[in-house]
Subunit: 415 residues, 2 copies
């Protein structure tokens, strides 16, 4: 099994609030092709330490990946120091400069002089194209080992690694295939899930199973090692099927799909349309759904009726309903969904009204109290939730619960 080390470069990564997350993604990709990450280093814009770090890493491990420090400014030292660490020169490349200035032209901007720095490449290194940024990456072979230099922004790093590094490493790594599958579950806690599925997964040493709690869902991660991809896939499928049989409809995703992607897919498959009326989630549900490419196929309209006047005027919620039951009530949640369904002429409408806090809670209606409304041609329904967490978490969990409500309705309709 080949060994790798990952070096994240940038002083901001040594502050108390920032952390290196690129290495998690890289580790996953490397593990999948049977390469083990043996060490991770986070170093600032510190020439001496960076140089020593790269030197040590390349002497110990088969593959060394650096991330960050390829920007155009003075403190972007990766190019210079990595060349020094492996005793090679930096070569100025006219063709790279031309492609960088072309990118600036496309944005109607002139290339600043300092971006010239990004046109230097380590002697005998391969250039890794960067479709999402100006700095190219590099891959340098040193006595059958590889030094791979990637930009820091994930949006630049990920496609570069997947398109230009991974294929090459796959050839080098060979035989073992490691594959991972993630099941996502919502509406149940981590320990409740574990009690149900532990009798299943503990019977397997391969695939390995671990569970992880996120803001509003539990991820069940399965990792299988096989002699080839098909074998690993089959092992994952067998265990995943058994887990899904235990948990049922609470599993909303078995292939990495997010909740909003699942809901979007179900809507598109059944050729239905949706509108969303939000109060305390403030546009979060609409935003999540419209982040999906192609969401215009099913998403018609969202109304963020934050003030009561907006609920009354734009969503036609009767003011006496608000007076009688309060804006945070089952009655108002149902009226929001029902009225928007009629106005927007969609097949479904969902709504949320609640108290996200930190202020606004009372003894009767505490922070975290949320009503979700649902309307279709056939019925109008609501659910009442008491969500734990801070403002951010309550909003997120409310958005997840509303999407999950619609998902369960659509799945039950299909069956």
């Amino acid at each position: 099994m080949l060994s790798a080390e990952i070096i994240a470069i940038g002083s901001e990564l040594l502050t108390p609030t920032k952390t290196d997350t690129n290495s998690l993604w890289l580790t996953e990709k490397l593990n999948e092709i049977g390469i083990e990450v043996k060490l991770k280093i986070i170093v600032g814009d510190d020439e001496l330490r960076l140089k020593e770090t790269i030197k040590d890493a390349i002497s110990r491990s088969d593959i060394v990946i650096t991330t960050g420090g390829l920007g155009p400014t003075e403190d972007d030292i990766t190019r210079k120091i990595s060349a020094e660490a492996i005793g090679r020169k930096l070569i100025f490349r006219e063709d790279i400069l031309a492609s960088i200035s072309k990118k600036f032209l496309k944005m109607n901007r002139e290339m600043p002089e300092i971006n010239k720095r990004q046109a230097f490449i380590i002697e005998d290194g391969d250039v890794l194209p960067n479709p999402n940024g100006s700095a190219p990456g590099m891959a340098v072979e040193i006595d059958n080992k590889y030094l791979i230099i990637l930009p820091g922004p994930p949006r630049e790093l990920k496609p570069m690694f997947e398109n230009f590094v991974l294929p090459k490493l796959k050839q080098t790594a060979g035989e073992i295939f490691v594959k991972r599958k993630v099941l996502r579950v919502t509406g149940m806690g981590e320990s409740a899930i574990d009690e149900i599925i532990a009798p299943v997964y503990t019977q397997y040493k391969n695939p390995q199973t671990s569970t992880l709690f996120n803001r509003s869902e539990v991820e069940i991660q399965l990792t299988a090692q096989g002699k080839n991809e098909d074998e690993a896939d089959q092992m994952l499928k067998d265990l995943a099927d058994k887990i899904v049989a235990k948990l049922g409809i609470a599993v909303f995703s078995v292939n990495g799909e997010l909740m909003e992607e699942v809901v979007g897919r179900l809507l598109i498959e059944s050729e239905k349309t949706l509108s969303v009326a939000e109060s305390c989630t403030g546009g979060l549900i609409a935003q999540r759904l419209t982040e999906i490419p192609g969401s215009s196929k099913f998403f018609v309209e969202g109304v963020v009726a934050y003030a009561n006047t907006a609920k009354i005027r734009t969503l036609n919620v009767p003011s006496d309903l608000i007076e009688k039951f309060g804006a945070v009530s089952a009655e108002v949640a149902e009226a929001m969904a029902k009225n928007l369904l009629e106005q927007s002429e969609t097949d479904f409408a969902i709504s949320v009204t609640g108290i996200a806090g930190p202020a606004g809670g009372t003894e009767e209606k505490p922070v975290g109290l949320v009503f979700i409304g649902y309307a279709s041609q056939e019925e109008v329904k609501y659910i009442k939730l008491n969500l734990p967490g801070d403002r951010h978490l309550i909003r997120w969990r409310a958005s997840q619960a509303a999407l999950d409500f619609l998902r369960r309705k659509m799945i039950r309709m299909k069956s």
Copy 2:
């Protein structure tokens, strides 16, 4: 200024889902007393790499802190390897063994044989008591440098560090105060900003300046060392003022505020209200604004008019306007803002219509074309943007540009 390195030990920290968070907390504590973290390392239960890592760290830095690997099992190698790395023996301490077995007795359990390992201490090292666990920590002085060995679980590490390490380091570090300030700039690229401000900040070695590009803004981070807090604050203010003088209104935050917080604060200060009409941003602007506690003071309503029918029905955009100019046009952006302003009776309305991609672009109206509309009682305006990036980035940058448009309008009104 003293330098520190932090070494997190444990193979689980090298998996794709786990990350070392102890170092963030430790960094904050160290920075506060003027100790700079120069390097962070995450290493598995890997004797060779750990030994080399500790050796290198202690040769480079004044303080080396390890976390984890002090448990009772075979793969808990920190004690043995750190002793080897600094060329000292491990000494068995009867008194520590006695205190460990006492802890087990208190829980009505017999001490397993393997826990004896935890009673070994590096020769001439100080014992750091562990009130929340069985493994003691250690502090070893080596030629005026310190190797500090802490357990991995945060509830063991934190009290041990605060009670037994911090007081000692404070004495060693002396009276340095380190403070940090972040300026945020939007509407300009990182290199353009650097060209303008480099002549200013390069005149200072203290504060140190670094710039960092995020999705739609550049962060300028200033770090100052002073003899006391006031001095450090004053140094930061002096440099920040000079940078702001160069960049002007493009600096939207000098105290860590996010764009939506700045806009929300300006609205609250001037007692104005806002409504937002969104097409391609799909609720993102509403969501960002309502994430702020207290946003109900200024945020009245959002309309996510995604389909043209929603623009026509809910926002009263004339259908012939859409036919003539297209949904993505200056005319429609202005109509969206103007009509929502009237309907919602707010002081301001902003709107966005654009092509976020990946599909939907044409030669005339490519992906990334975005119109931002603005309406107040006094005027209706628009700006046209060609935003680079993928769907996510285009949406984010459009939301940022819309909020920034409103921010600049409000600031100009005040002056």
